[in-house]
């Protein structure tokens, strides 16, 4: 079979220069010179009305696109490696795939993307925005006002980053209250709460969190990273509990908050213990690494992507397509998720073997689904406030950033019914 594939590829190479094959294979293994822009190439082809396929587990999760002058042009501009494939060669590829844990998923429609981001956040402070901009994938920034006005319904995919949905602004108040940037951030948030008729910031953020929950329940795709993962669930479960410290809403946290949390409202977690001290830069014991808490901070290791059956579990397979299975870990406000805090039914996509935490999780909620990835920036493992932004042109083959972009393309897939 491999011989057939080899012969087909050699025949392909012998095509006269300029001759068009029927398809372009975008390899996603080590032959790809720019993995991140390959996602942009695929997304924009779909956006222009083309149909494609995601060849799960085939050469690092390759894409198959029609061979058009425009797609070739974009690939050339972005330095994305493509290989022309005619029908016999494609047949050989399919034959090769049928014998292994591989499958082809049709890609039909470019999802409409929204990124929940505050107006004061520089675009380079969010790994997803960095990835989208670098890959050339358009997105719409939204914030509290748009969420409250129901704009989420206009999007197929929504991303959250390190927003603190408990309304405590990441508990930065105690350490950074004198910093100009923090004062401006706080004021902007307070102004928005007032404008939208909320008594305080925690009240606004809890309501925003609930709107996001409804969006997922109605069929939306949610992707969250860093602190947004943990605080979204805390805000949902604590909808009717005072979980914010006094500096945020004028009243101390409910001393029995743990017991009053309603975890049935949460997406991913259950039974977490809330951090009651305003002096400790942590929200709960969901995060395994506790990067900002002396005495609790755990060292970074590596995490391993799980292998799923491409034919029987295509959704999880799409989310873990990568040319590396073991990836260096990276800190964030929330870096990882403790196993004992995960709800039953949550799919673990990546974990650190032997550690009590996992890195990357996915689940369904209502008609939609969500994916959480811990950490701030896959290419800046120790990222701290004030650090320079990551320049992705220096990391065009980043396996960590590929996980983010898998999520972007995931809603483009026409899901096949499960065979089991």
């Amino acid at each position: 079979m491999r011989l057939l594939r080899g012969i087909a590829l050699v025949l392909m190479m012998l095509l006269p220069a300029g001759a068009r094959a029927q398809h372009l294979l975008v390899p996603m293994d080590d032959d790809q010179s720019n993995h991140l822009k390959a996602y942009g190439l695929t997304y924009n082809a779909l956006k222009d009305g083309a149909k494609g396929e995601w060849l799960l587990n085939y050469r690092g999760g390759s894409f198959l696109l029609p061979d058009t002058p425009e797609i070739r042009r974009r690939a050339g501009l972005d330095g994305v490696s493509v290989q022309p494939v005619d029908d016999p060669a494609l047949a050989a590829i399919r034959s090769d795939m049928s014998g292994g844990n591989m499958d082809a998923i049709p890609l039909e429609k470019a999802p409409r993307i929204a990124v929940y981001t505050a107006p004061y956040t520089p675009p380079w402070d969010d790994a997803v925005i960095l990835a989208l901009r670098y890959a050339g994938i358009p997105y719409t920034p939204i914030w509290d006002e748009q969420v409250e006005h129901g704009d989420l319904a206009n999007f197929d995919w929504v991303h959250l980053f390190h927003e603190d949905f408990t309304g405590q602004l990441g508990k930065f108040y105690l350490a950074y209250r004198g910093a100009t940037w923090f004062q401006a951030m706080r004021q902007t948030n307070l102004d928005m709460a007032k404008k939208l008729g909320f008594a305080n910031l925690p009240a606004l953020k809890k309501d925003v969190a609930d709107k996001i929950r409804q969006y997922v329940s109605n069929g939306g795709f949610l992707f969250a990273m860093c602190g947004a993962t943990e605080t979204l669930d805390l805000a949902l479960a604590g909808a009717n509990v005072d979980i914010a410290s006094e500096f945020a809403d004028g009243t101390p946290m409910d001393p029995n908050a743990d017991a009053k949390m309603d975890w049935t409202r949460a997406l991913a977690f259950r039974g977490a213990h809330l951090e009651s001290s305003p002096y400790i830069n942590s929200m709960s014991d969901i995060d395994g690494h506790q990067a900002n808490v002396p005495g609790r901070r755990q060292p970074l290791g590596t995490f391993t992507l799980f292998a799923f059956s491409a034919k029987f579990d295509p959704v999880a397979s799409m989310l873990v397509q990568d040319h590396r299975n073991v990836i260096p870990d990276f800190y964030g406000v929330t870096t990882s998720f403790m196993r004992n805090r995960l709800k039953p039914g949550v799919t673990v996509l990546a974990d650190e073997p032997g550690a009590p935490w996992v890195k990357y999780i996915h689940g369904d909620y209502g008609k939609g689904s969500w994916t959480f990835l811990g950490g701030h920036d896959p290419e800046d493992p120790q990222h701290a406030i004030g650090n320079p932004p990551t320049d992705l042109s220096l990391h065009p083959n980043s396996p960590g950033y590929r996980l983010i972009l898998n999520n972007v393309l995931f809603p483009a897939a026409k899901k096949k019914p499960l065979k089991t």
């Binding site: 910093a179 808490v293 406030i385 004030g386 320079p388």
Partner: protein, 572 residues
Amino acid sequence: MMRVALLGALAGMSIGVPLTVQAQGNTPTRPQGGEAYLRGESLEDRSQYPEAATAYRQAVSQAPTSVAAVLGLERVYAQLGRLDSLLPVLDTAIARAPRETAFRIAQLRTLRTLGYSDRMRAAFEKWRHDVPNDPSPYREFARTLIDAGFTASADTVLREGQDATGSGRDFAYELAQLRAAKGLWAPSAQSWREAVAHNAYLDQAAIFALAPTPDSVRDAVERALLAPPPTPQALHVAAALHLAWGAPRAAWEVLKTLRADSAAVAVWLDFASRAEESEAWLVARDALVAADAARPDARVAARAATDALSGDDPASAAALAANAERTLDSATVARVLLPVHVRALGALGKPADAQRVMEAYLPYLDPGQKADAGRLLAMAWVRAGDLDRARQMLTESGGDDPATEGWIALYSGNLAGARKALRPAADASVERLSAVALLERTRADQSPDMGAAFLALARGDTLGAAAKFEQAARTLPDAASLLLASAARLYDARNADAQAAAIWKIIVTTMATTPEAPEAELSWARSLRRGGHAADAVTHLEHMILTYPESALVPQARRELELARSAVPSTF
């Protein structure tokens, strides 16, 4: 040296300096532990760590409070991955010498390295309990926390320390570090000012910490550092920061206010070296002039004149050289000042004056120096446009220099002569390589236009040279694209964007198959982006990448494309 480095590594960069100084200060001339200690040291130097550990352990058992022996044990245990074993040793040492700071610091350091955060906190609590009113426990624990990135906790510890000891000054260094880590730049500068006033050796730490200050708050940082009454240490830090921020003139404006004593001369000379490294030639010149005025030195004066010349101020260079010559003996002038003086007068277009100066010191020159001076004088005549006198100078100085002859041939338009003389020359300068590249692109043996272009360049007339290269392109069609590209590069160098872009455009539109075409299109696009025409820049960059996919410039073009599309941060 290795021990100091190891200690630095253990302590972490940010706290390495004070710790090292402190440890050395506490080390007796002959360490307690005697022979065993010396044996440990010797074994450690030979990287025999297990044996060194045995020796140091013996030294510690003989003298449990020997700082040198305990720190030696710490170093080798770190090498052996056995730091756990150091903890009981430290417990014993601390029990016997509870006021010995080095043991406490080593304990915090070891616990941090081992990741025993709770025990580290407990060690700190015990230390502050043992030495009430002493700022050291707070200071050292805060340093450890800052180093580990726990700025909020460090803040709390320092506040506790200030409350407990009633002193803010004792914590200036830690507060400065902490505030810088938190982006509180102006308050950090205030603390650094206080810290360096009492510990001058902290100046480099201050510069390192404050260098990342964002543009918007740099004025506030400067105000904090220079608040009255000014201190020399704070002035030094402020000047170094201006230099790091690319504002050498502002740096000098700060430093020139120093009182002109021997310490100031040392600072000015150091500053001049830094300015020269940044190619801020005229700022370096000013610092050297100030240093020379305070403490006259012929070499410093010559350096000032050379810097003036490098900074395109030949009049100042000539004046500085002439001034210094009045106070020095003729032999020193001939050796140190004459070359720069001749070059300066040549650059001013005064070859006759240059010749007079050289002739005055001719008796003090050996044949080699005479030949060198002759070449300089020949180039002075070249700059004045008198090529015959230039040739005469070369002949009279007795130097056999084919390269200079080749240049003079080129200036005369004798391309064949220039080709013959310059091609084999060993000189790998950009100027020679550029000239040879052009000479190789044309078969013509004569071209007064090309000669005139190179002559204008030698005379420092960059824009004139660019215009003449354009003119030469019309008469040498086989080298036209390279001549035009040379002209455009010169316009670019002089920020004459419009002229450069016009030429790049000609190459792109009418010489698309020449080797210069990819460079032309990339440069044109860059010019468009600089001018705010990002969409046009994108069009040309896309065209360049797709038309010349094999060009070595394609990665640069892709990078430009990403910047033009705002796909990556533009801060890089």
